[in-house]
């Protein structure tokens, strides 16, 4: 494929800003799309050109395939970068790009589709010797079938929607009595949320860590992993703080999981950046959870420890370049932590807050990275994600990265917006966190 000269960024907020910066470095023209609510947004100000695609509500703007494609075609772009969220894992959108001869900066639509169906993904991985959590072979039709499987793998089990995500269509089932009721509930929820009532069943692992591997794959079958990220600190399945590398992995386990991640990507002929999410249990058994077929929010920590610019690599892969490194070239330098600063009220169950930023000071200096779209006098709109800033610190080792994060968080001033900064400080100073004793239940314990 020829060099990309003009990219439309089908996103907003910090990731749109991040992509614009990458494009500028590569000398690529950028076009931002925006909603009427985002007129004053930084991604609009920084792009070479920007086009309003609809009103504030996402379904009429950032999720509106037709309008975005129409803008892309009318403005004759070579490529679209979908960022994360919104249309990034919409296989139909990727397919429209393919049909319009516009490079979708991400995998082929077929890969998105395959990995988007969680039960299909599970089957493919199992068939390719990627360990999956014991459970059903594909979709489960009846409570009787489910009970039969649960008896083999043992309670508790978890029922999940095939097209699921974000906790919807999930139920934890402790005994066969609950099976019928909860399966019905899960089906109904899945049907409502994803338009498909298919469900599958897995063993529910109570104590686990969420560890993910970043992979990059070019068009020529070269796949490399960029090591791992520890993402166990979550609230309602939303990551809050991530680190790289995960302190719980030793070199042997890291190498083994990394190899598995690469094999998983190869199994579906994956191209571009992707993430294999694993669940790691108390005994260091790891299981494929799902694959995210896009750039992740937490990609900067991988950039900090490997030096690789993931956004620029995504574009180069889309341009048909070969990966400029092989697995042996990828080294881990130091330790990085990302804190997601959200505009939300910690005293009111972390309800998202909108409003005007009247005063702003963000930290800087050695080993501090800010990825954000906010500025003083920016008005945070109501419609979108509450994440307003990613604060990333890097240190020679975990201790230094933590003390730097502590220092950096103490500097943050975002007035009069309510934020989760105090919660982030609480995490960073928590004795369990300091010794790396964290799992997916850690944050709930702190908040209570």
């Amino acid at each position: 494929m020829a060099q990309i000269k003009r990219i439309l960024i089908a996103n907003r907020g910090e990731i749109a800003v991040r992509i614009i910066r990458g494009c500028k470095e590569l000398g690529i023209e950028t076009i931002s799309i925006y909603s009427t609510a985002d007129k004053e947004s930084l991604h609009v100000a920084l792009a070479d050109y920007s086009i309003c695609v609809g009103p504030g509500a996402v379904q009429d703007s950032y999720l509106n395939l037709e309008r975005i494609m129409s803008a892309a075609v009318a403005l004759a772009v070579d490529a679209i970068h979908p960022g994360y969220g919104f249309l990034s894992e919409n296989s139909k959108f990727a397919q429209m790009c393919e049909e319009c001869n516009i490079a979708f900066i991400g995998p082929a639509s077929n890969s998105i589709k395959l990995m988007g169906n969680k039960s299909t993904a599970r089957e493919i991985m199992a068939a390719n010797n990627v360990p999956v959590i014991p459970g059903s072979d594909g979709i489960v039709e009846t409570p009787e079938e489910a009970n039969k499987i649960a008896e083999i793998i043992g309670f508790p089990v978890i029922v999940k929607a095939s097209l699921g995500g974000g906790g919807k269509g999930m139920r934890i089932i402790n005994s066969s009595d609950e099976m019928e009721k909860f399966i019905d509930q899960a089906r109904a929820e899945a049907s409502n949320a994803f338009g498909d009532a298919s469900i599958y069943i897995e063993k529910y692992i109570t104590t686990s860590k969420h560890i993910e591997f970043q992979i990059l794959a070019d068009k020529y079958g070269n796949v490399v992993h960029l090591n791992d990220r520890e993402c166990s600190i979550q609230r309602n399945n939303q990551k809050v703080l991530e680190e790289a590398p995960a302190s719980c992995l030793d070199d042997e386990l890291r190498a083994r999981m990394g190899h598995t991640a690469v094999e998983a990507a190869k199994a579906i002929g994956y191209i571009n950046a992707g993430t294999i999410e694993f669940l790691v249990d108390e005994n260091n058994n790891f299981y494929f959870m799902e694959m995210n077929t896009r750039i992740q929010v937490e990609h900067p920590i991988t950039e900090m420890i490997t030096g690789v610019d993931l956004i620029k690599q995504q574009i180069k892969i889309a341009e048909g370049e070969h990966l400029p490194f092989i697995q042996e070239d990828i080294k881990i330098h130091g330790h990085a932590i990302e804190c997601r600063i959200n505009a939300e009220d910690p005293d009111n169950n972390f309800t998202p807050c909108a409003g005007l930023i009247k005063e702003l000071h963000l930290p800087g200096g050695k080993g501090v990275r800010i990825d954000s779209h906010i500025y003083q006098n920016y008005k945070i709109p109501l419609y979108y994600d509450s994440m307003i800033c990613k604060l990333i610190t890097w240190g020679d080792n975990r201790e230094e990265a933590i003390s730097k994060m502590n220092m950096a968080l103490s500097e943050v001033i975002i007035e009069d917006i309510k934020t989760n900064v105090s919660l982030l400080q609480k995490i960073i100073e928590h004795p369990d966190f300091l010794v790396g004793n964290i799992d997916t239940k850690f944050l709930n314990k702190i908040i209570r």
Partner: protein
Amino acid sequence: MNINEILVLIDKLNETSINELNLTDNSFSLHISKNIANTSVSHVPEIVTPKLTIEKSTNDQTIETFNEKDIIVKSPLVGIYYEAASVDAKPFVSIGQKVNAGDVVCIIEAMKIFNEIKSPCSGIVKKIFPSNLEVIEYDQSLIVIGEDI
């Protein structure tokens, strides 16, 4: 409580962020206090200033030069503006022309679909903003229709 126990308490206060300790046990009472250093958090002073933006809205500025009763037809979609039905055809509207509610005033092509934009009212065309084949964004002003005097 003996002297050694008191010394342990003093060390504890010294090392920690605890500032004061009061203890009463029957007739025994003990009070230890530490001076708190005065820390102050300073805030960056606040003055309202103009917005950070380079997105100049030409639309809004131009609107002001028209009559309050004028109707501005705005684009409901994103696409390419066509002033006429074909290359050879006359433009749908021209300045000074009378239009009726429901008359087609232009076409916006989005993804090979040609969408007719219709006048919401009757009146006189006072202004046409886009040039033929211009890329139109959502909510962009297309045409101003004034009162038919």
